[in-house]
């Protein structure tokens, strides 16, 4: 079954004078999809969001959001979207509850419905203890929680989240992500940027990696890891603790791209694209040096590995005058 395309972006660009912030990006987002948009700082993520939310006009290219043309139907688009910006946004003269209430009012949510949703969101986002606190007195994490929760006071079909979990502790972060998942199951579509790649992996159906204004790759998290996350980590411990001879031999091995030791756990960590040859080598060395390997395991490649590889390769390609895609 072909899913409805909620966002269609075709060769969209944005220039600031001579600087190209976003360079001919193209992608589609289907209904009820969580589309991750990952990239280093200054890659063009926020500029893309600002264009798709009609805050910034594109320099060139076309896009439709929820079936409306980006250039001519901005108001219709804005009426159906929600946005959690990267930067703080709060009404400084209000407390948490009133701030949510007035935000609902400006979105024309009826009063009774506002009351119901405020209670529900305050419960979901665990904000009861600072419900009556002025927004200026909130901690960064509390303010962030309010900013995300507040956006759900109104109805929307598409939600843009620009690094929504910055400053949240891991427990709150997980509950926010689970809440987002629940809303996606109910039909919401999400455009999501983050620097925390575990949460992108947890939440996103597909991920676009953007670097220097251009999309380097779009795929599912699994495929990105499989295709670009070549390096794996082999972690092992020695019964004897440490061995400078072992460390020296592995550091100079051609199969090893990175070698180090975690002082906390005492484990050696070998980053390699060929664990099948590194593991026998570790045992051969241990045997020769009369050491005992007490534990050894291969950690799976992570999205972070894939992301770093993709961006690093793209940087090299740009430096050499060509690009990977």
């Amino acid at each position: 079954m072909v899913r409805e395309q909620v966002v269609r972006v075709d060769e969209l660009s944005r220039h600031f004078g001579d600087k190209v912030a976003v360079d001919r990006v193209s992608f589609d987002i289907a209904r009820s999809e969580v589309f991750g948009f990952l990239g280093p700082n200054g890659a063009g993520k926020t500029t893309t969001i600002k264009m798709l939310t009609t805050l910034l006009p594109p320099t060139s290219g076309r896009a439709t959001v929820l079936g409306h043309d980006l250039k001519t139907e901005g108001r219709k688009i804005r009426a159906q979207i929600g946005v959690v910006q990267q930067q703080d946004s709060f009404d400084q003269g209000l407390n948490v509850e009133t701030s949510m209430d007035i935000y609902g009012l400006i979105w024309n949510v009826p009063k009774a419905e506002r009351r119901r949703r405020i209670d529900e969101l305050i419960g979901h986002f665990e904000m009861e203890e600072f419900r009556k606190m002025p927004t200026v007195d909130l901690s960064a994490g509390q303010r962030r929680r309010l900013q995300v929760a507040r956006e759900f006071i109104h109805d929307m079909d598409l939600l843009f989240l620009d690094e929504p979990t910055v400053g949240l502790d891991p427990i709150v972060r997980r509950s926010v992500l689970d809440y987002l998942k629940e809303r996606v199951r109910q039909g919401l579509t999400i455009f999501f940027t983050t620097h925390i790649l575990e949460e992108a992996e947890y939440l996103c159906n597909r991920i676009a990696v953007i670097n220097q204004g251009r999309i380097v790759q779009i795929d599912t998290p699994e495929n990105l890891k499989r295709r670009f996350g070549s390096a794996k980590a082999v972690e092992f411990k020695l019964l004897q603790g440490t061995s400078s001879e072992m460390a020296s031999a592995l550091s100079s091995s051609p199969s090893v791209s990175r070698f180090g030791r975690d002082e906390g756990s005492g484990a050696y960590r070998v980053t390699t694209s060929r664990p099948e040859s590194v593991i026998p080598e570790i045992y051969r060395l241990a045997d020769r040096l009369s050491l005992t390997v007490s534990s050894i395991y291969i950690s799976e490649t992570t999205l972070e590995d894939a992301f770093i590889n993709l961006v690093t390769e793209d940087e090299k390609a740009v430096a050499n005058g060509g690009r990977s895609v």
Binding site: R78, V83, Q85
Partner: protein
């Protein structure tokens, strides 16, 4: 109107509003009475002779117009500083609606402030207050246009200036100039020639003169001309504010 309500609730500091109210009352009850003994009563037009305390009381009411203007700039600065400016523009509103909401909020605050100050000053003004329909319309027109001018002026200023601190300093200085080249404290005709010339371009002069004419039933043939000049200045400043506002980078 939803945005207007939000602007009033979210961006206005109660302590600032209190002091904006105290400021004109200080002029009415301290300076007015203090100078009343040494300034003889004089004609404000149409043969209406009033005391200096009455003259100053009427002028002080129009000070709220300037305070309302400062509020407009402050609202915009708070929204930019707190990220609400962009948040609202990504919501179901246009830029034009946003700027109009600030102007309307400013008008409500300006007019409500004037009425409050007027209410407090009524014991002083009451003796010579001669209400007529024509006068009431003139008062409403003066407060509306004056607030619109100073609101738009503060918005334009807050767009041009790069920090809220600079905005506070420059707007205070600018409003100080407007204040002392107007007829709030003394009739423009009694001022040195340079100040007289400046007062002719100063919308606060017209706001105050029209307000006094309406309040004391001292309407002369020049009032309609003053109303026309004030309307042109208010509309021109509004257009400038809209153009300046469009330049804000997000």
């Amino acid at each position: 109107m939803r945005l207007v309500y939000r602007n009033i609730r979210a961006n206005l500091d109660r302590a600032s509003l209190f002091f904006e109210l105290i400021f004109p009352l200080f002029f009415i009850f301290v300076q007015g009475f203090g100078l009343n003994g040494i300034v003889p009563p004089f004609d404000v037009g149409n043969g209406r002779v009033i005391s200096y305390s009455l003259f100053l009381a009427a002028g002080a009411v129009t000070l709220t117009v300037i305070n309302g203007g400062t509020n407009a700039g402050t609202q915009l600065w708070f929204d930019r500083k707190n990220g609400m400016f962009e948040q609202l523009l990504m919501g179901p509103f246009t830029r034009a609606q946003y700027i109009l909401s600030i102007i309307f909020a400013t008008l409500i605050i300006g007019v409500a402030g004037s009425l409050l100050v007027f209410g407090f000053a009524f014991p002083v003004l009451g003796a010579s207050f001669a209400p007529t329909w024509e006068g009431a319309l003139l008062i409403a027109g003066a407060l509306f246009l004056g607030t619109m001018f100073f609101g738009a002026f503060a918005i334009a200023l807050s767009v041009v200036l790069k920090s809220s601190e600079t905005f506070q300093i420059v707007s205070t200085f600018a409003f100080f100039i407007f204040l002392f080249t107007s007829s709030v404290f003394f009739p423009a005709s009694a001022a040195p020639s340079a100040i007289q010339a400046a007062s002719l371009a100063n919308p606060l002069t017209y706001t105050t003169d029209i307000f006094r004419a309406g309040l004391f039933n001292a309407v002369t043939s020049t009032v309609s001309l003053e109303l026309g000049v004030l309307a042109i200045e208010a509309v021109a400043m509004f257009v400038i504010a809209v153009f300046a506002f469009r330049r804000i980078r997000v």
